[in-house]
Amino acid sequence: MDPGRFTRVDPTTWRVEPQGAMRVPAIIYADEQLIRDMDDKVYEQAVNVATLPGIVQASYAMPDAHWGYGFPIGGVAAFDADQGGVVSAGGVGFDISCGVRTMLTGLTVAQITPVQKALAESLFRQIPAGVGSTGAITLDTAEMNAMLAGGARWAVERGWGEARDLERIEESGCMEGARPEYVSDRAKERQRREMGTLGSGNHYLEVQAVAEIFDAAVAGAFGLAQDDVVVTIHCGSRGLGHQIGSEFLREMVSAAKDAHIELPDRELACAPINSEVGQRYLGAMRAAINCALANREILGHYARRVFAHFFPDCSLKLLFDVSHNTCKVEPHVVDGKPRNLFVHRKGATRAFGPGHPGLPAALRTVGQPVLIGGSMGTGSYVLVGEATSEQKAFSSACHGAGRALSRHAALKQWSGRTIVDDLAAQGILVRSPSMRGVAEEAPGAYKDVSAVVVAAERAGLARRVARLRPLICIKG
């Protein structure tokens, strides 16, 4: 993308002034090189979002933004229901509440190394991953509804998790306002046997080592020290969320028309928040958030079981669990006035800074852990929310590296087997049912996650605390 298309506000803030149908500016937080590497579609999509009714302040894009569906992936937009604001199924995305959790093991690299291979094999066997994998849990109608209403709390009550985890999950593990009755039978059918499954694509479970500490004080508060080992899980609401996304996208194309909303792109399909469809979507989407929270809690439980086999005294403690694809009602101050806004984050992480009342007591003084997934070769980051992020982007930050190459291009360039062998030589054990899947997720197909998190830090969205390098990667 040509940086010349923007007004450069500062080295990490790039602005498109309102023009044509835009109601607010579009603002991208990134450095110049990241802007240059972004697809022109990011500009187009960020501008399109700025045309939607009831949008407040600006249409934002994070440093990892890339071409998405209607909204850019890495897009953040807030809407005011009282000003005709909308909720958009495309603005949340298909994998509702896809997110990342990181669990502290209390172990060090030296303890993992002797059992690394056996641990990798055991995790690969115990964590259902990829197409055609089956979870050990089948939900009947009553349990499905209980799960959709209860989220991670439901999982804990059923014995698939620990009560102490809940305060370390957004919404304390249970999204309020979920309406299981608004979730279609087809969506529920798709989920019936998928609880406790990882999925595929860019979803993974990794055992990681703390490779570098940037902020010793915050790292200490998070329980992270050099060479500590953590487990990180990236996955979402599985088939249920995908089905809800597809169904409401279709319905919102008509709903937008009925509400006389001009859509520059059908994928921006949306409905007024204060409408029957809008409310029904919010109820179903919140149920899908609970599905994702429950799913990650169950996967965390499976990881605990495997670790307990190798290390009987080890107890995995949840650092935090973040969601990337959501629309949440949050209080924000705009032009000096407090307002309740419907904040869409599509491929973006909520990032509360220090002192935020939404954080549990143990984290309130330092800020929220912001977990950034990188590629399987290069590693991941733990960031902490900055107070400045509230004014910059409604307390939001980036979510990952973002792809540099399409799956198509990756497949042409790399072989899965070679990647597995090369990473093994670097001490990273990759286990996946599909070598083609590994090739499509090749480390080289992703942007440099370091550049993304540095840009997020310079832009005042979130600050680096630690870098994690993978030891074991289970890919779907």
Partner: protein, 148 residues
């Protein structure tokens, strides 16, 4: 009513096209039905390059206000059947009425993880890069991005 194309005609082919994070599928054929069938083959190829035996038949029907939205519905119906039946499909027979109602038979087999080595799971068909149309030479094409 347009005729369905059970056997692949000379215009019948499919392709993938790139998207930043995901993948596009596009089918071509002498009729809209044939283009839809070919795009379905492209959808299966997102998941596996291995052979899929047409052992089991599944009937589906769907409708939408126009042909492009019907195309997305069609792919989403296949994605649904793939997910709940844990199957892959390799043969398709599509009938479209009034450009809005579709009935089809899919033939395929249960996923065999070792043999099919499925690379990724389609989450849903999107309206991004969605286009169904016929060119000057009478060749139909139908394509969109699949979120995987």
């Amino acid at each position: 009513m347009m005729r369905s194309g059970l056997s692949a005609g000379s215009r019948a082919r499919w392709e993938h096209f790139p998207h930043d994070a995901d993948v596009g599928v596009r089918g071509f054929g002498a009729t809209a039905e044939e283009a839809f069938e070919q795009a379905a083959r492209a959808l299966t190829a997102v998941v596996t390059h291995a052979a899929v035996e047409p052992k089991v038949a599944v009937e589906i029907r769907c409708e939408a206000p126009d042909l492009e939205l019907l195309f997305v519905e069609w792919l989403n119906c296949i994605i649904y059947e793939m997910a709940v039946r844990q199957m892959l499909f390799s043969r398709f027979a599509v009938k479209i009425e009034d450009g809005r109602r579709l009935t089809a038979t899919l033939w395929g087999e249960p996923v065999d993880v070792a043999r099919h080595a499925p690379a990724c799971e389609p989450k849903g068909a999107t309206y991004t890069a969605l286009k169904v149309g016929v060119d000057g030479s009478g060749t139909w094409s139908a394509g969109c991005i699949i979120d995987v």
